[in-house]
Symmetry: C2
Subunit: 235 residues, 2 copies
């Protein structure tokens, strides 16, 4: 089990989107529908890259989540059509947003059985980034909310944000383990503060969440999905 001393760990926190349940695919599907709306004006690649640029530009203003994504889609549609886009086409984008908000939550494989195994042996948390209402709504629709002792929604997963949570709950860094799919948000800041992390890679990872190979090379081995799958053997 490499660096993780399981006897020491008392609190395990899970990321939510693309760790507990599928999320990125919902955004990807909305993006596909969005691209279709604009194919009369531009090529798929051009629309994609423009949307990605506007999303990145808007991130500090609108943050993560469906509403910010929707405003970025609307802005992209207006810019790419030089304002010629029709009101009813923009209405279509808002409908996409509303459909995303109520999309059924699909848990990732093994999640429920892992939570069942861990419950009672560890203090369990969700630490997720994004829109407060979106995240609360997804957790409540997920059917797994009852496994968690605490839920924290943060606007950004920085080392400082994690330290603030640990101090608030009086959790020692050496006793804390974070599990998530994003190296940038769930793993690197956790290793920075000296806690434990397990990376569960996810097939899709949003541009903004990606870190380069060279960033990774400087970090020690990060335990992988198979280890959390077999976690119950070790506790």
């Amino acid at each position: 089990m490499d660096k993780i001393n399981w006897k020491e760990v008392k609190t395990i926190a899970f990321d939510a989107d693309d760790t507990l349940w599928r999320n990125e695919e919902i955004f990807m599907a909305a993006q596909e529908d969005f691209i279709r709306l604009l194919l009369d004006y531009h090529s798929e690649d051009y629309i994609k890259s423009h949307l990605s640029a506007i999303q990145t530009r808007n991130l500090a203003i609108f943050g993560y989540g469906i509403k910010g994504f929707t405003l970025s889609m609307i802005e992209t549609a207006i810019e790419l059509t030089e304002g010629r886009i029709l009101g009813r086409e923009i209405h279509e984008i808002i409908r996409l947003a509303k459909a995303m908000v109520s999309e059924p939550i699909e848990l990732l494989p093994n999640i429920e059985s892992i939570l069942q195994q861990l419950q009672g042996q560890f203090q369990l948390m969700v630490i997720t980034k994004g829109d407060l209402l979106d995240q609360e709504s997804k957790l409540s629709r997920s059917g797994v909310a009852h496994y968690f002792d605490y839920v924290e929604v943060v606007s950004n997963k920085t080392p400082e944000a994690y330290e603030e949570i640990l101090s608030r709950y009086q959790i020692k860094k050496s006793e804390f383990l974070m599990i998530g799919n994003s190296l940038r948000s769930d793993i690197l800041p956790i290793l920075d503060i000296g806690s434990h992390a397990i990376h569960i890679p996810y097939a899709f990872t949003w541009d903004h969440e990606q870190v380069s190979e060279s960033d990774l090379a400087s970090y020690p081995h990060i335990p992988k999905l198979t280890e959390i799958k077999e976690l119950s053997l070790y506790v």
Copy 2:
């Protein structure tokens, strides 16, 4: 001081919008600009009532905050023009949203001196409803963040949400005082759970936040602004 036993109170939590700083005016100003965009199509009153209806309809989907408000403005503009609104006019609405996000924070009178007086004598918190990113950004721009021991952003101020916070921070209900401008969000749920509340009325209160006179009649006297102004005399 009526019902509040000041010797008992150990934690004071403030609402943020329209309690610590002006907020409603920023939404009102954006709404004025929005109405101006649509005056060629409809009367001011008609636009206002339609926007208010769409906001209420969207509240469960998009929540409180600038992004949800903006999506409701866009949807209203599309509906009221039967889709004839131009892309560049919708872009104007998104620009309004971006301006709102970076609007300077104007503290309400006496707030800073009250916080100075209370600091060190009580554990101080902010409990605010709305968009996580908006609220964190406003607090950080307000210049008063350092007075508060804890900040909680919730999606809805229900009795259960307050109870959850009190239990998480191990605060006794009898030792907790909430101060805010909204009877519906800051005062009634607090009295429901048996804690203390002080109402600071604010000149503007959004439709959705209003409670009827008859709701109020059934509640005991709620201490008013003047009392918190003179709070330092009592502690």
